[in-house]
Amino acid sequence: MSSPLLQLRDVEHGYGQRLVLRVPELAVYPGEIFAVVGPSGAGKSTLLRLMNFLEKPLQGQIFYQNQAWTPASLPIEARRQMTSVFQQPLLLSTSVANNVAYGLRVRGQRPGKTAILQALETVRLAHLAQQHAHTLSSGEAQRVSLARALVLHPDILFLDEPTANLDPGNVKLIESSIRHTNRHEHCTVVMVTHNVWQARRLAHRVALLYEGEIIEVAPTADFFEHPQDARTRAFLSGDLVY
């Protein structure tokens, strides 16, 4: 296996007196779709924010391309090689096209109409380009949020529950876009989800995060068919109480 694109070592994070994450070792490899599954409150979103250098861990180091960085020290060029799609779309109060263009504009690029429409077409929303973002349904908004990230052609794409509360049609469309980006643009994808079926459909490797700790990491087939830890088995069978 090639050297990791992202790596966490002895990372601990918490809020106030409460420790919410303890990860001695975790690696993400270039070109893979890596899914972190776990019950609500396990620390999945916190883990994603740390990996995207949006928060600084209380302890430990996070490596990107074999060098340790913090949110403050990570050069802007490196930061702009990665982006996140949050569970809440958080669109700006402007048109759909302007939302998709935002990341390009802050990079000093003049976003071409074709690039914007292409990104929107990936999520089948090119026809809504001129519509105000606040008039969209939640499924459409989530798809625009994904298009806003895809137009940047990131090296790493972080997805936080990308299809939570969406109907099956939108779920299928978003999953198809994620798969397409990974395969054709060689974009590394890190996603957190409580939907084990989605992880199974999309990911190359899967990790279980439970009560802030990584319980098990394995290739998708092994994770689902031969889970090593009792908690993984319990989670997959729906017996893990949360």
Binding site: F86, Q88, L90, L92, S93, V106
Partner: protein, 233 residues
């Protein structure tokens, strides 16, 4: 009723003949309140953004103080500044008393809490995770602040309108620290008080109509600017 009609006609006459005294008073009013608003915006917008975004010990107390400042009685501010700037006061050496500078200073104190308070509230109303989302899209700190300011534009415009409205129409403090000196510190509001005391109700009403027209125009301009910003999108 005649006084109102006379006042309206006189206002028209003063405006149409470009009365020199009126122009001077209007110019000084706009200069004093415009400068005060500009400085307040320069200080208040960043302070409001900071308060809207950051959590820190003592923030609640600070916000209570700012909200209290939004209702500061102008005469109390005028009196305080008068004492500070008077010859025996700690700032007496500045020589600002009975000058437009003193009037600007009092108006800054009156409008600053309004601009900070409204801006902080507008910024805080944006989703808490938005700065993080913008950062993840590659925005720098400056770009994040500008985007948040843009997202909160309605609240920011309200802050500027409230700040301007509070000072252009204020009379207590400018009378105290300005002294209503002809050709020097006489502004529209203090001129209205003077003309009323002299019994020149028509002229006082004329000045009042002009003051209202200026306030209306300024607010229209700000709202028009907001509309243009919307259209650009």
């Amino acid at each position: 009723m005649n006084a109102f009609l006379d006042g309206f006609l006189q206002a028209l006459r003063l405006i149409l003949t470009l009365d020199a005294n009126l122009i001077e008073v209007v110019q000084l009013s706009l200069w004093v309140s415009g400068t005060a608003l500009f400085i307040s915006a320069l200080l208040g917008l960043p302070a409001g953004i900071f308060l809207g975004l950051k959590e820190f010990t003592g923030k609640r107390l600070l916000m209570v103080l700012i909200y209290t400042g939004m209702g500061l009685p102008p005469v109390v501010v005028g009196l305080t500044i008068y004492i500070l700037l008077s010859r025996q006061g700690p700032l007496g050496s500045w020589g600002w008393l009975f000058t437009p500078k003193a009037m600007i200073l009092t108006q800054i104190i009156l409008s600053l809490p309004l601009i900070i308070g409204f801006t902080a509230t507008a910024i805080a109303a944006a989703p808490a995770a938005l700065p993080m989302q913008l950062r993840s899209l590659g925005a720098t700190r400056r770009q994040i602040v500008l985007t948040l300011l843009y997202e909160a534009r309605a609240g920011v415009m309200a802050a500027l309108i409230a700040g301007f409205g509070a000072i252009i129409s204020e009379v207590g403090s400018v009378m105290i620290v300005g002294g209503n000196i002809e050709h020097k510190t006489r502004v529209l509001t203090s001129a209205i008080v003077l003309e009323t005391r002299k019994g020149n109700f028509a002229l006082a009403i004329a000045l009042g109509i002009i003051l209202l027209s200026i306030t209306f125009s300024a607010n229209w301009l700000l709202l028009h600017l907001q509309g243009r910003l919307e259209q650009r999108q």
